[in-house]
Amino acid sequence: MSNLISIRDLTKSYERGKQKVEVLHGLTLDIPKGDFVALMGPSGSGKTTLLNLIGGLDQPSSGEISIDGKRIDRFSSAELTRWRASNVGFVFQFYNLMPVLTAEGNVELPLLLTKLSAARRRENVAIALSVVGLAERAKHKPRELSGGQEQRVAIARAIVSDPTLLVCDEPTGDLDRKTADEILTLLQTLNREHGKTIVMVTHDPRAAEYAKRTLHLDKGQLAEQAAH
């Protein structure tokens, strides 16, 4: 299977006051299309930094990142923004839904960047909500939903524009075990049945078991890989 993500000699450092902190040190990694990868590691190991770089939320200090053949490390900020809109779906630990919008409003938000008609947008939103099993909660605002339901809405928002790649930062970190299992099963379904490539950061080994393989990061470098 061809690689969707190719990372070569990736480094990332931040300025913290007068100090320069290097978070990733020359990391090399390939993730094939259709993979479901769990990124694990202790706090400060660089998991979220790597996820942000893969998702195009940040730029590396050096090295290469190719996603689906595109060198996103060479993109300008505006190019990255456009690329994210059509290629990546994001799922956050705390859902990060817009509290003023209903579930369907939240899911429709990324589609406002497209040229789809209002009717077509509504149709896509309905499909995305039905995929996550929340069609009947479309008119509810986030505060009227449970944590699990909010995360499902967030996943619907992530998939509504049909991106190739889903990046998930601790998607079950704020959920109880049972709900977490439901969300992870949903992500597994999106990976297996809808062909989405998923990169997920997690601290939870049980969550990692839903992935096809787990990558362990330590001190900004790839420590080990394990297939499930």
Partner: protein, 385 residues
């Protein structure tokens, strides 16, 4: 959902806060509309267009009288149809209640002001009764006066020849206005000039102002210029203006109305800037993670700037347009009741100034939060840094 819907939903996320802010914007623009309209009225140059009556007073001040001998000269000016004159009586009733009282010649005021309505018999009685007085409907209703009553009226200016300041008049008529505007001006007492002229201690033969009814409204400017030129460099220099300008002259004596209006508006808008600016900044701070999510989803820096700025514009535009609309409505009501005394109109230029103020205010309160939102770094904002 549309982008506009999203902006409005965000604007009203904290309804109480937004409504209170909106009310402050509405009040500010209500004041803006009315005060600008006042400013326009007071700063308008002499406008003779459409004037059907002119007022001639002494050039120095309306408190200085003009001699009655100029009456035939004024009547002889081409374009003048009829002339009346009047003297401010300084009327006081009861303990110390001032009322509008003027000494007038009955036939002349009837001819020059057909807007005042009264039965012919009462006009005749006014002309024929030396101590006759007619009272406006508003005053008559207020004090319960009726035809046949005695009206003891003190003057705080003119004593009688016997030294007494208490004058006695007989109410011989009650006049009304031809329409609502003129009915609102029936709050005055008119006394017979001949009696006043003979009986007052300061001598006779002078009038405070002359009111000239014109044969043709197009000639107003020309008539005014002719009269003022005629008495230039004479002991009785005149100033001739329209009724409207003459009325406004009273209020202008308070001071520089334009300057006062500008300072009041400066204070109002400075306060508004702080209130709305603080609301917008607070609202933006509360939403840093949401703005970061918008950028994550693919909204550009410019779009995020646009969202925040649009909220500020929506808030200021909504409040501003409501405020200006209320001011326009109030202006119509005030004009209806005050008529020529205060012809307040929230006109096109006031609206244009208001719209400019809305744009300036929107940018002033929205630009900084919007720029901050635009510069937001996704990674830092999501990490709460």
């Amino acid at each position: 959902m549309t982008k506009t819907g999203f902006v409005l939903a965000n604007l009203f996320r904290k309804k109480t806060r937004t409504i209170l802010t909106l009310l402050s914007v509405i009040m500010a623009f209500l004041l803006f509309g009315l005060l600008q309209a006042v400013n326009v009225v007071f700063n308008a140059g002499a406008d003779f267009v459409g004037a059907t009556r002119l007022v001639t007073q002494a050039r120095v001040s309306f408190t200085q009288s003009l001699p009655l001998r100029i009456l035939p000269e004024l009547e002889a000016v081409p374009g003048v149809d009829k002339v009346m004159y009047q003297q401010w009586f300084g009327g006081v009733i009861g303990e110390n209640t001032q009322i509008f009282a003027f000494a007038v010649e009955p036939a002349r005021i009837h001819a020059v002001y057909p807007e005042y309505i009264m039965p012919d018999a009462q006009w005749k009685a006014f002309a024929d009764t030396r101590t006759g007085a007619i009272v406006g409907r508003l005053l008559a209703n207020q004090y319960g006066w009726k035809v046949g009553d005695k009206l003891p009226l003190n003057s705080n200016i003119f004593p009688k020849k016997d030294g007494s300041k208490t004058w006695g008049f007989d109410i011989v008529g009650i006049f009304d206005g031809k329409d609502e505007q003129w009915q609102n001006q029936t709050n005055q007492v008119l006394i017979n000039f001949d009696y006043f002229n003979e009986a007052n201690q300061f001598g006779s033969g002078a009038a405070g102002i002359y009111v000239l009814k014109l044969a043709n409204s197009d000639a107003a400017q020309q008539v005014a210029d002719t009269i003022d030129a005629k008495y230039e460099n004479s002991p009785d220099e005149t100033k001739t203006q329209t009724e409207k300008d003459w009325s406004l002259g009273f209020v202008k004596q308070i001071g520089d109305i334009g300057l006062m209006v500008r300072w009041i508006l400066f204070a109002v808008f400075f306060t508004l800037l702080l209130v709305v600016g603080n609301t917008m900044a607070q609202s933006m701070r509360e939403r840093v993670p949401e703005l970061a999510v918008l950028k994550t989803l693919g909204f550009s820096d410019g779009s995020v700037l646009g969202f925040v700025l649009a909220e500020s514009i929506a808030l200021c535009a909504l409040g501003g347009l409501i405020g200006l609309s209320i001011a326009t409505g109030l202006g119509i009501v005030i004009k209806k009741f005050a008529g020529a005394v205060m012809p307040l109109t929230v006109s096109g230029p006031v609206w244009v100034a208001g719209l400019i103020a809305i744009i300036v205010l929107s940018l002033a309160v929205g630009l900084l939060p919007a720029l901050r939102a635009q510069r937001l770094k996704i990674v830092d904002a999501l990490a709460g840094r």
